[in-house]
Each structure stands twice: as structure tokens, then as C-alpha cells.
């Protein structure tokens, strides 16, 4: 192994470019858009890191990956060592390297990005490279863990649950993860499309966690098949609830039950989890018309629109009541969507879905909006421009305006305090709920947020559970 030596930084202003599929090719296939760095690209990008004494980048990372330490190893070409360093703190680097909004996290704090016209170090791309390199070339070691005889149940196998389970298993706990669907991964499996996050990678990362002795059981709906109380009676010393925010919101406008209206969750679940994009070679259908309208401008809306394009839609519109500046999706996702030919209708609010005699969508009526005064969230409030409405002819309308926490756990767990909107209330230091030995984290607590925040919450809960159960 080459020693990591002090090096002369590469002062290039821009990141080493990431190879990507051509927009006009990729918008008709489901293969990954971003192709990842080669060894040479990764090593070159790594030399842009200044190895700061006080690494601000780490403050931006919700799971505190030792960023300069791993990048130092990439510079030297010691990719396996880099992988070991990352996985000290982050169990799913191939996933986070792909889907984290790094511009608001690690890369948002990088000093290289502060100078005018300068880009931060591509930390996410490097993390992804290291994880992919390890998966493809790394030596496989079965980890040895000393068991401590204590049992923890984890509800949900999304990013929060997987991370919590992995952290506890590494500390010697017997961990049993209960998943309602037939596949593990939560939103990583049913929500985020193949072209942003290949499912083989999700599976490989989950398998890696399973090797520490985490037992995944699918087809168990906690709240229906078994309750939290019954888990405790069955001898689990603690329960972590990472059940996410999977309950879709609709707008409540006329015509939402017409044929051709999907929640983004339904549309994406059919395509991703059920492989509807392979219909008829897989039996789950997903039907769209030549024109598709998606309402909302978050990451889920971008995923739905880009998916519709790949299924063959000629015109895909994103309809959003505010302007581009307020759109909650990552800039990169909006950019990718535009490159692929998605059309944006900002300051436009659907107010009715219109159907034909047989109950199928034929158009949506939209209200033109303008921005008014700032509201409580600090964003300028959209207000209707009186008398300005128009129609878009479409046969498919996908609603991507957000999700709420699923009510099943709170309905079936007495003594579990929740917010009015359904989020589970926790002590933010320990993630402990109002119920003794019941912890929660991820979207079940915060409402729909990001993969990495859910992982951070899962990790925090694991540490707190360990401290409590080991009497530290």
C-alpha cells in the first residue's frame, strides 16, 4: 500500500466532470444516468481537497464521515482503506454518494466552493466511487461480531431502519427488521428510480448489513401482523420505529379519482418495486398517455416526470404553483429533468381534473399564480391571478405534493405521542419516544425529508439504544 503523502493541491476550479449518459439516449432507458468516476478521475478529483485542519465539510455530514481522511487515501490510490474509513461512520456509502443533496451538506461547507466561480470538492462522487470500487473489486470479509445477548426490533427497512439495525448489530445486538413489503429498502426500493439508484446496489448494501447478523423479515406489517406491544412481549429489549412517511397527499380538487390520476407513490411503486417498466414481461401494468402532467416540484415529482418520459410519454409537464427558485427539488435534478426534455410550468396550480364520459382524465384546469408576500416559512406565497385559467390536455395526472407518516403505528401503539400532522414525537438527543424503550427516526418523525437525515437519525437512535441497554 502506498503511503498517503503530503501533496500539492490541484487548484482546478471545477470538479472533474462525471461521465453521464447522453440526455437524449437516457430519457428512453432505465439505466443509471451518472456513470461514475474512473480510478484516474477519482484520484485527480481527490487532489482538489485541501485537507483542511478544521474540516467544515464534516460538520455538514449528518453521519460525520471522516471526509479528509478518506479522500487522502483516494489520492494515494488506497481505495480499500478509504472504504474502511467511510464505513466506520456510514453503512450505505454507494447509496448516499448517489442520492444525498451534497450541495446542502458536506459540499455546501467545503472551502473550495467559497471562492467565486469555484466548485467544492466532489465529495459525493468520491464516496460513490470508493463504495462502487469496493463492491466490484474489494476483498470480501465476513465480519465477526461478539454477541451481547440482547434483542432489538426495527420497524421498517428503509434508510433509517437499515442504518439503525447495522449499527446495533455491529455492537453485538441481535437485530430483527420487520418490513411490510416483499422487498427491503423502503423508499430506496419503491421510490427512487433505477436510473438514479440501481436496485442491485440497494440490495448489495442491505446484504452487507445482513452479514453483521441482521435478520430481515419481509411481509410483516407492524400494527397489523404484530403490534409494538406484542414485540415487547416477545422479548425485544427495545424497538426502533423507522416506518417512514408513505401516505400520499392529494390536492382535494375535483376529479382526482378519475382513471389516469396516480399518486407519485403508486406510479413509482408500480415502476420501481413491481418493475412495471418491463410490462408486459412483468405482470404489473403502468399506463400513461402521450402527455403526462406531474403536480409538485420536489425530488419525487422530478423522479415521476423523468420516469414518465422513459415510459414513452411525448410531453411531460411539471406543474408547480410557485416559481423555480422555490422548487424543493435538488438543482441537479431539475437540471437533469430539463436536459431530458421535461417541460416546466411554474406559477401554475391545477384546480380541477376533467374527465370524459367513461371516467378517464382528458385535461386539467390550471390557475395562473403570482408571488405575493412572504409566508411563515419565509417563502413568497403564491396567489391566484384572477380570471387567468387555462387547460392542459392530458390523460395522465401524477400527484407529487408530499407524503405524511403512515398512521398505522400511532393508531395501534397506545401511549405513543405524535404531532397533529402525524409525526412521532421524540427526544431529539436520544430519539426516544414517549414510550419507554421505543425509539423512532427518519420520515416517521420529521415527515418526508432526505435519505441521509433518516440514516443520521437511525444511527443516533442506535447509539442511544446501546447506551441505555448496556447501562453506559
Amino acid at each position: 500500500m502506498a503511503d498517503a503523502v503530503r501533496r500539492k493541491p490541484n487548484m482546478a476550479k471545477e470538479k472533474v466532470k462525471m461521465p453521464e449518459q447522453d440526455p437524449n439516449v437516457r430519457n428512453s432507458n432505465f439505466e443509471e444516468v451518472a456513470l461514475g468516476y474512473t480510478k484516474e478521475m477519482a484520484m485527480e478529483e481527490a487532489t482538489r481537497c485541501l485537507d483542511c485542519k478544521k474540516p467544515f465539510c464534516m460538520e455538514g455530514c449528518p453521519v460525520n464521515v471522516p471526509i479528509p481522511r478518506f479522500i487522502e487515501q483516494v489520492v494515494a490510490g488506497n481505495f480499500e482503506k478509504a472504504y474502511e474509513i467511510i464505513t466506520e461512520e456510514n453503512a450505505l456509502p454507494a447509496i448516499t454518494g448517489r442520492v444525498c443533496p451534497q450541495e446542502n451538506q458536506c459540499e455546501g461547507k467545503c472551502v473550495r466552493g467559497r471562492a467565486k466561480g469555484c466548485e467544492s470538492v466532489g465529495i459525493g462522487r468520491l464516496e460513490r466511487f470508493v463504495a462502487d470500487y469496493h463492491r466490484e473489486h474489494g476483498e470480501h470479509k465476513t465480519p465477526h461480531v461478539e454477541k451481547n445477548g440482547k434483542k432489538v426490533a426495527v420497524v421498517g427497512s428503509g434508510p433509517a431502519g437499515i442504518t439503525c439495525a447495522g449499527e446495533l448489530a455491529r455492537r453485538g445486538y441481535d437485530v430483527h427488521v420487520f418490513e411490510a413489503l416483499h422487498k427491503t429498502g423502503g423508499v430506496l426500493s419503491y421510490g427512487i428510480p433505477e436510473f438514479r439508484l440501481p436496485k442491485t446496489i440497494v440490495q448489495a448494501e442491505a446484504d452487507g448489513v445482513a452479514e453483521y447478523g441482521v435478520d430481515f423479515e419481509t411481509n410483516v406489517v407492524v400494527g397489523r401482523t404484530i403490534t409494538v406491544d406484542e414485540l415487547e412481549e416477545a422479548g425485544y429489549d427495545a424497538v426502533f420505529v423507522g416506518s417512514g412517511a408513505g401516505l400520499p397527499r392529494f390536492q382535494g380538487i375535483p376529479g382526482e379519482n378519475l382513471n389516469g390520476v396516480y399518486s407519485a407513490n403508486e406510479f413509482l411503486t408500480r415502476v420501481n418495486l413491481m418493475k412495471g417498466y418491463m410490462f408486459p414481461d412483468r405482470p404489473t401494468p403502468v399506463k400513461i398517455s402521450p402527455t403526462v402532467c406531474v403536480v409538485g416540484a420536489g425530488n419525487v415529482a422530478m423522479d415521476a416526470a423523468r420516469t414518465a418520459k422513459r415510459l414513452g410519454a411525448e410531453n411531460v409537464y411539471i406543474v408547480y404553483r410557485r416559481s423555480e427558485e422555490e422548487a424543493p427539488a435538488r438543482k441537479e435534478e431539475i437540471h437533469h429533468a430539463k436536459e431530458e426534455g421535461i417541460q416546466f410550468k411554474f406559477l401554475t396550480n391545477p384546480i380541477a381534473v376533467n374527465g370524459d364520459e367513461e371516467g378517464w382524465v382528458k385535461s386539467i384546469t390550471c390557475q395562473e399564480m403570482q408571488l405575493g408576500e412572504a409566508d411563515a416559512s419565509g417563502r413568497r406565497r403564491p396567489v391566484p391571478v384572477e380570471g387567468h385559467t387555462f387547460e392542459i390536455e392530458t390523460g395522465t395526472f401524477i400527484v407529487a405534493i408530499g407524503q405524511s407518516p403512515n398512521p398505522l403505528i400511532r393508531q395501534t401503539t397506545p401511549g405513543l405521542d405524535t404531532q397533529k400532522w402525524g409525526g412521532i414525537i421524540v427526544n431529539e438527543e436520544t430519539m426516544e419516544t414517549s414510550r419507554d424503550s421505543v425509539y423512532a427516526g427518519g420520515d416517521a418523525v420529521t415527515g418526508a425529508a432526505t435519505v441521509i437525515l433518516a440514516m443520521g437519525a437511525g444511527k443516533k437512535a442506535a447509539i442511544a439504544i446501546d447506551e441505555k441497554l448496556s447501562g453506559k
Binding site: 411490510a180 413489503l181 416483499h182 419481509t218 411481509n219 410483516v220 406489517v221 397489523r224 401482523t225 404484530i226 408513505g246 401516505l247 400520499p248 392529494f250 382526482e256 379519482n257 382513471n259 389516469g260 396516480y262 399518486s263 407513490n265 403508486e266 411503486t269 408500480r270 413491481m274 418493475k275 410490462f279 408486459p280 414481461d281 412483468r282 405482470p283 404489473t284 401494468p285 399506463k287 367513461e358 371516467g359 407524503q403 403512515n406 398512521p407 398505522l408
Partner: protein, 283 residues
């Protein structure tokens, strides 16, 4: 994997299967359903729980082989396994207080979901009757099973081969005309049949419970594919139902929504052999 321990052919369209699923059997109540999948790349299909045996840890389902997935299931025999079997899903039936006499009206394989509801009522001491409808005699299901706890088992066939000639609603109307007083009607079957039962009961304002069967994907409330309109409100049948107050259900909308994928369903059914080969190739 979930083992098939018993299988019976009921008629030329339907079969009955008892499947080992101890966690579902331990917990399920009348009115709930399961979702199952046949094969690693299969669809998720909802089926109402017909019967259960907590000690044996089994669930009985009655299935009409009408399309791709139900026909795949039909090909399996005792000792084979279904890939996924999740439940119990949906809310258990909530029975009103003070019921004295209740009648179940079932059409086709609707006999299976009506059975546990009437049985639960009978166990509470409520007098129960059942009207079983079928196109021909062979489609009249579970009459003997109902006889063990029902006061009256009425039968109606379209061609008059067995029982009254006509529909379940024909018998129900007759009984009401004869002055039999029902405190509640439980109607389960094809949507058109449930809609027709409500047409009979509505003028008399007899509470009528129906079990809705919209298209479902996950069955846990995360997609809204199964939404229905009840009393002007959008409900998700998988978490708010599947039982609803039939007098307030928008049946026409439900029937339209059931047609959403008709063309695609027909296509996969007709190309079943090729699709199965492809699915196997992927494993």
C-alpha cells in the same frame, strides 16, 4: 415462503386454498384481507380471508381464476409455496350494537368473505341468515359451511337450477316483503351485485355493509390506488376499509376505476406462457 396445505376445486372457475401463514392466522379477524404474490416477479393481488385456523396457523382463501396471477396461483398444488403472503390487512369488521337479525347476501366467491363475518355475529348470539347467489348451481359456494350456524340458508340461481330463480336481491326483496326484519345486511360480491343490494335496502334504510374490491398495489396505505368515494369523501379501501357503509358508496366510480387496466390485464392473460418464461429466466 408460504406452504399450500389444502386445495379444492369448487367449480369450473373457482378454487379454495388453505395456506400456512401462522403470523396472519394468529391475528386476523373477520373483514380483513391478505396480499399475495406468486413468483419472484409476480404481481401483488388482494384476496379476502375466507376462513382461518389459529391453531393450525392457516388461512383459507377462495379464488376465482380470472386473470394472469390467479391462474398462476391455480397451477400450484398442495406442498407448493406462494412467494409472499402478507396480512392481515384492512380494518376488522366493526359490528353495530344491538343487532338481532342479520342477513348476508353473497354472489360468486363473495361467500368466502361473508362467512367469517356471519360466523363472528353468530358467536355473539346474533341470529344470522344467508342468501347465496350463483349463475348456476355449481357457482353456489359454501352452503354447507353456512348451515352450521345460519338459521336459514337461501339460494338463488340465475337459471333456477337450485333454489329461487333469479338473483340474491330477488330473495332479499321477497323476505323484506314477507315482513322479515333485518337490522343489517352484509353484501359481498361483484360491484354490480353490491350496488343492486343497496338499491333494495336503501328505500327501507336498512344498514348495509359492503366489502369493496378496488385495484390495490401495496395494501398498506402508501399509494392510494384503492381510493373510493364514500359519502363524498375519498377513502383508501386498504386502510379505511375494505368494509364501508354501502348506502353511501359511489359504486359507479368504483366500477370505472376497476376498468383502469382492463386492456393490460387481458394482454398479460393472453400471453401468460411467454411472460412466465421471461419471469423464470430472470430468477
Amino acid at each position: 415462503m408460504y406452504k399450500i396445505v389444502r386445495k379444492e376445486t369448487l367449480n369450473d372457475a373457482a378454487f379454495e386454498m388453505e395456506i400456512e401463514a401462522p403470523m396472519v392466522a394468529r391475528k386476523c379477524e373477520a373483514g380483513q384481507f391478505v396480499i399475495l404474490r406468486v413468483g419472484e416477479d409476480g404481481e401483488r393481488i388482494p384476496l379476502t380471508i375466507g376462513d382461518f385456523d389459529r391453531e393450525k396457523g392457516t388461512i383459507t382463501i377462495v379464488v376465482q381464476a380470472v386473470g394472469f396471477s390467479t391462474k398462476q396461483l391455480e397451477k400450484l398444488g398442495v406442498g407448493d409455496e406462494v412467494t409472499d403472503f402478507v396480512g392481515p390487512l384492512g380494518r376488522p369488521t366493526e359490528f353495530h350494537d344491538g343487532l338481532k337479525r342479520v342477513v348476508g347476501v353473497c354472489g360468486g366467491i363473495g361467500a368466502a368473505p361473508v362467512y367469517p363475518q356471519l360466523k363472528a355475529l353468530a358467536e355473539k348470539g346474533v341470529k344470522v341468515d344467508v342468501i347465496i347467489g350463483g349463475r348456476e348451481a355449481q357457482y353456489v359456494l359454501w352452503a354447507d359451511k353456512f348451515k352450521t350456524f345460519c338459521d336459514h340458508v337461501y339460494i338463488a340461481t340465475d337459471n333456477g337450477e337450485l333454489g329461487t330463480k333469479g338473483f340474491g336481491t330477488t330473495v332479499l326483496q321477497q323476505l323484506i316483503d314477507d315482513g322479515v326484519k333485518f337490522d343489517e345486511v352484509i353484501a359481498i360480491g361483484p360491484v354490480i351485485m353490491m350496488k343492486n343490494v343497496v338499491k333494495v335496502t336503501k328505500p327501507y334504510n336498512i344498514p348495509t355493509s359492503v366489502s369493496l374490491n378496488p385495484i390495490m398495489v401495496d395494501g398498506t396505505g402508501m399509494c392510494g390506488c384503492c381510493r373510493v368515494t364514500v359519502d363524498g369523501q375519498t377513502k383508501f379501501a386498504c386502510v379505511d376499509g375494505p368494509d364501508f357503509d354501502g348506502l353511501n358508496v359511489d359504486f359507479d366510480e368504483l366500477m370505472e376505476r376497476q376498468r383502469f387496466f382492463k386492456k393490460e390485464e387481458k394482454y398479460v392473460d393472453e400471453h401468460a406462457d411467454r411472460i412466465c418464461d421471461l419471469m423464470r429466466g430472470a430468477e
